[in-house]
């Protein structure tokens, strides 16, 4: 096998490493995920449909996907602003703020969850002034939304940053020399070049928010039909030993994330094909 398939290399070990890789991959990832799909086939299509269209499931999915979309939109706008500031301007503390962007990636989700809850609770540092304005954040859908914004922000920044750094300054100079205003150059020349990266960052932030559990459940309030996210409903159904319900919701969420992976891959291909055309 190793000589026939991996003919371009004279190095040893292809059969062994590939064999062990596939075995380990199957044991840890493929068999468990296949088990999830097999479990759904134990349900009749009618049962499956009934679970998914029950009021509580529909509301949980609506809350998860809807708020994730809203949070990803905020991340898209704020991420672009942050990237622009970090890449194009010089200001005191720039390197520090650049490093800080990674914190939502690195901070364990449960820690982020309790910290955000404490911060936005009614007596919290930010919760108290907001409460005076009549805005209740913790234990409402707004809290879920804010937690999703928190975990999503590095995705947009870190996807767009390398692209903006590498953007050829000649393009901007050409636009300027042809008489374009700065405003025009930014919105008609620079932002369109960043579009594949922006959309990729948006999709990744969205996907992460949909599946997010730890940083959301503390601040969410977890009221059925109001502030209960889909991953939490899976956990609740499991604790009630309603495995079929948990599995059906999980499969829908898993398929949604596969669609997002596929979309991101297409975005990458789009980015590759459109660049030489410049």
């Amino acid at each position: 096998m190793s000589t026939a398939v991996a003919r371009q290399s004279s190095l040893p070990g292809f059969g062994l490493t590939m064999g062990l890789t596939l075995t380990w991959l199957s044991v840890i990832i493929l068999i468990p995920l296949a088990g999830l799909f097999l479990k759904t086939f134990e349900l009749s299509p009618v049962q499956f449909w009934e679970i998914l269209t029950s009021r509580r499931t529909l509301n949980a999915l609506r809350i998860s996907f809807g708020l994730s979309f809203a949070a990803a939109c905020v991340n898209l706008v704020m991420g672009t602003i942050i990237v622009w500031a970090l890449v194009r301007y010089r200001f005191p503390g720039r390197r520090l703020f650049d490093a800080i962007v990674d914190i939502p990636f690195a901070l364990p989700t449960a820690v982020a969850g309790v910290a955000l809850t404490q911060l936005f609770a009614q007596k919290g540092w930010l919760g108290a002034p907001l409460a005076e304005l009549g805005i209740k954040v913790a234990f409402t859908p707004i809290g879920i939304f804010l937690a999703m914004v928190f975990i999503g922000i590095p995705f947009v920044v870190r996807t767009v940053q390398p692209v903006l750094i590498d953007l050829d300054p000649e393009i901007e100079e050409a636009a300027a020399s042809l008489g374009a205003s700065r405003w025009h150059t930014v919105f008609r020349v620079i932002l369109p070049s960043l579009m594949p990266a922006l959309l990729t960052g948006f999709a990744l932030a969205f996907a992460r928010a949909v599946g997010e559990y730890g940083s959301v459940i503390f601040i969410a309030g977890n009221l059925p039909n109001v502030s209960e996210i889909a991953p939490l409903l899976i956990v609740i159904r499991l604790s009630e030993f309603r495995y079929a319900d948990a599995t059906a919701i999980a499969v829908v969420m898993l398929l949604a994330s596969f669609v997002i992976i596929f979309a991101v891959n297409r975005l990458q291909r789009w980015a590759q094909t459109r660049i030489p055309a410049h």
Partner: protein, 325 residues
């Protein structure tokens, strides 16, 4: 450039996609062609934004990062020390806390070492050989990044749970997987699966196979070649992957929460204990454990930055860069 940026990002699918985005959008050759020296100078206002706009953008960026990222981190430490230093250390010395710390270290040790061995082997097969379906295999390795942590736990409940596929058999043989260390370790391995392989593959692809081929042709064995030639070349990348893998393994919450059973003093990892104590309104104790995890995150970020600098220094010279792609 390409290597550095592909390694900048941790803990997420971003690592996978950002690297491809970067490679796709900024081929090194295109930048070489740009003749910056010839660029005519333009009036300053046409190449950057007016000062008020610059100020607003910087202010927005700083405000947003402070409110959403810095403040939560500060809250963790402020709450942990809100009743003084002695209360903080007393909380950490609780038997429950110590048992959670021990379990977290054990699970991290198991999952990091297994994923280390797997990651090196997968990277060797993928980076050093050409075979059909390579992109698909990388997609499969990346899969855990895009699965919700709750689902990562659920799949093991469906396999090993009392109503799961192998639950009855396991019960008959008195083997405990769920609500015990093996289940917690499996769920952790699942969520940390891609880290090591993902940090090594771009690095090893960039380095190519010439050095290894030379070693083999001079009579070295496969293992000798790996340990004497490949390993020294990839050591910083390997450390990088292990660092991120470890951070996630110690901090994982959702997947572990589903398989742990929350047995006090037995199957609670540190993140799970944070949750339990918080829900019991033991805020100092909860944030004391959380502060340890936050410090882990901060140390991880600092070491990551140092490693990225190392990786930058050890970058292959530009004339070799093209050979491996």
């Amino acid at each position: 450039m390409s290597m550095q940026s592909s390694l900048v990002t941790p803990a997420t699918p971003l690592q996978a996609y950002a690297s491809t985005a970067d490679l796709a959008i900024s081929p090194a050759s295109r930048r070489e062609e740009s003749t910056r020296a010839r660029a005519v100078s333009f009036p300053r206002d046409q190449r950057t934004e007016p000062a008020p706009v610059r100020f607003i953008i910087i202010a927005l960026a700083i405000t947003f990062l402070t409110v959403f990222v810095v403040l939560p981190l500060v809250v963790v430490f402020a709450s942990a020390f809100s009743k003084g230093i002695s209360a903080y250390f007393a909380a950490l010395a609780e038997p429950e806390a110590l048992s959670a710390i021990r379990l977290t270290l054990l699970v991290a040790a198991i999952s990091v070492s297994l994923n280390l061995v797997f990651g090196v082997m997968a990277a060797w097969a993928i980076a050093k050989f050409e075979f059909p379906g390579k992109t698909f295999l990388i997609t499969l390795i990346d899969l855990p990044f895009s699965v919700s942590p709750v689902i990562s736990g659920l799949v093991f409940v469906l396999l090993f749970g009392a109503q799961g596929y192998w639950g009855t058999w396991l019960q008959a043989h008195n083997i405990h997987v769920l609500f015990a260390v093996p289940g917690i370790a499996l769920a952790t391995i699942f969520v940390t699966f891609p880290f090591v392989a993902r940090s090594l593959i771009p690095l090893m692809q960039e380095q190519g196979t010439q050095e290894e081929e030379a070693a083999i042709s001079l009579g070295a064995s496969g293992l000798q070649t790996f340990f004497r030639v490949t390993l020294p070349n990839i050591k910083w990348g390997l450390l990088y992957g292990v660092l991120l893998c470890n951070a996630r393994a110690m901090g994982e919450f959702g997947a572990v929460s589903v398989v742990s059973g929350h047995i006090r003093g037995e199957t609670n990892t540190m993140p799970l204990l944070v949750e339990i104590l918080y829900n019991e309104y033991q805020f100092v104790a909860s944030f004391a454990i959380a502060s340890l995890l936050a410090m882990l995150a901060l140390i991880t970020l600092v070491v990551k930055t140092i490693l990225e600098r190392r990786l930058d220094e050890g970058q292959t010279p530009p004339d070799l860069e093209g050979l491996s792609r």
